[in-house]
Symmetry: C2
Subunit: 322 residues, 2 copies
């Protein structure tokens, strides 16, 4: 175990609750994402030495900040396995919007856990970092859903078969697939959005529709069938409830499909909306159409991100000092 | 279009509602199944000339018997397309138990539709017969679920992505997969079993569990990962409700898993129970264990069927006269 003096880790944003796949399907985005730098410290435990880019909204207390929570969880794990890690000092750079439906807390959590693992010479394989990252997620949203943290950590498109025990399946990424995500400047609190759907009773007919579509999304990824993938992006359980929380949801979705998107739905718990397309040009046209619809129908400014699925997941950025 | 004087068609039984995949996942069995013979008749419409093997329980009226209904639907379709089919005379041989959860009405419906298509020289491709077969299903169960009729017709493991429009995905069949189905001599009426689940409100947590497992079943089939397939055979929505209708359900399931089954659940709406295994020897041991459990825990005699997934679907049997 060769400790490094300092590392810098990038963890990408992610689109979770993909279409019919509430809590079970997520993918990593190429941008945006968060950075965490870590250096070994003599004092045991986690020190959060700096947080930037959050507009002062996040706690600097490492027992409250999700990057600190995930880092502490990993540090405890390393010590429990006799890997003798002393303390770490962290810097969190938020480079993505919070409460956006893009997995902001997951990105910070993943970056925090991975930075600790890297600074101590990578004692654990990547998949083993997920449990620590999920401790951050749990603190942020009140639930340990993994469909943001798993793709942010591992990259690609990830299926969560089961939460207890945690059982992940990494799915193939169609080479031609492009993702457009548009984030309007309006916040939806994940906890409130979850509470709205957790308490209801759902009709079996709607469960069946989502089962068919979620299963077909997986088949489409293995078959590299983007048409099938697009028409499987249909959510009868959660989107009808959550759409009401997102200004101009119907108009933005219509604009995306009108501009050539194969499928379109809410990213995470919103307000961001993602669309899938089969090429970059259409992905950009879809971004423009969605941005215009948020502006025209709801007076909202929004940011658009256009890119392929990020198949790298969280990565060490060698531009760090050290 | 070359009409044949007489044809004989076999349509296999099927296991539907596969694990978490209520109404969306079904597979064709190697045995048992139904036979329908057809010959061209001068009188327009469908004549049901004979029904055997049903213990006198099925109607001889072609407007009520599902084989007759499916045959009539196909005949109407052929005439609507100007394919000028006059009448047909049918004989239905029931060779499988009814109200068993093995898709008995689907097998009769599929065989009826296919026999008509064959006797008129196969004017329609196989997939086009499904709509007519589903008319028979609808008459039998009050619902147009396709996860018996589609695998019985097409063979293999079939995913129903959507019912409106009907959208099927044929999934890969792992070469090592063996299916055991055990049918206890106790009937469950499909309509009643459906009514029991259709009226409830389901918790989102249970929907999520089924979404994860149904999606993972599909991934497992593409990855040829029988371990993953087995642990994905878990149904939190429907099985807990329907288990109460099946004597010794828990004991039989425990026996199957104890004898080496990868996964085990109710076939269709029961009372049959299916299990998946990775080789023939284990499949036979599982059959014996399940049969013994039905006998010991509920005093029930049962029939066991052990075989591979039937990848042929409905077939013309050349042992017919003509």
């Amino acid at each position: 175990m060769q400790t490094r003096s300092r590392v810098r880790v990038f963890a990408p944003a992610s689109a979770s609750n993909l279409g019919p796949g509430f809590d079970i399907l997520g993918l990593a985005l190429s941008a945006p994402g968060d950075f965490v730098e870590a250096e070994v410290a003599d004092r045991p435990g986690v020190e959060l030495a700096g947080v930037t880019g959050d507009g002062g909204l996040l706690s600097r207390d490492p027992a409250v900040n999700v990057a600190g929570i995930a880092a502490s969880a990993l540090l405890s794990r390393l010590r429990a396995e006799g890997l003798g890690a002393p303390g770490v000092r962290l810097w969190l750079e938020k480079r993505m919007p919070m409460a956006s439906g893009l997995g902001s807390s997951a990105a910070s959590s993943v970056a925090g856990a991975m930075a600790v693992n890297e600074v101590f010479g990578r004692p654990l394989p990547r998949r083993e970092l997920l449990a620590a990252a999920l401790e951050g997620e749990r603190a942020a949203s009140g639930a340990g859903h993994a469909d943001n943290a798993a793709p942010s950590l591992l990259g690609g498109i990830v299926l969560i078969r089961s939460y207890d025990p945690l059982d992940l399946v990494e799915l193939p990424v169609p080479p031609a697939l492009w993702i457009t995500v548009v984030h309007p400047h309006a916040a939806v609190r994940t906890e409130e959005a979850r509470a709205l759907v957790m308490s209801r009773g759902f009709r079996l007919a709607d469960c069946v529709a989502n089962l068919g579509n979620a299963a077909a999304m997986v088949a489409a990824l293995y078959r590299n069938d983007l048409e099938l993938l697009g028409r499987s992006i249909e959510d009868r359980l959660v989107e009808p409830v959550r759409a009401a929380l997102i200004p101009a949801h119907a108009e933005v979705k219509r604009a995306a499909l009108g501009a050539g998107a194969l499928g379109c739905s809410i990213s995470g718990s919103g307000p961001s909306i993602f669309a899938m397309t089969a090429d970059e040009l259409t992905a950009s046209a879809v971004a423009m159409a969605m941005t215009a619809a948020f502006r025209d129908a709801a007076g909202l400014v929004s940011d658009a991100y256009v890119g392929r699925v990020n198949t790298d997941g969280a990565t060490v950025r060698e531009d760090a000092a050290g």
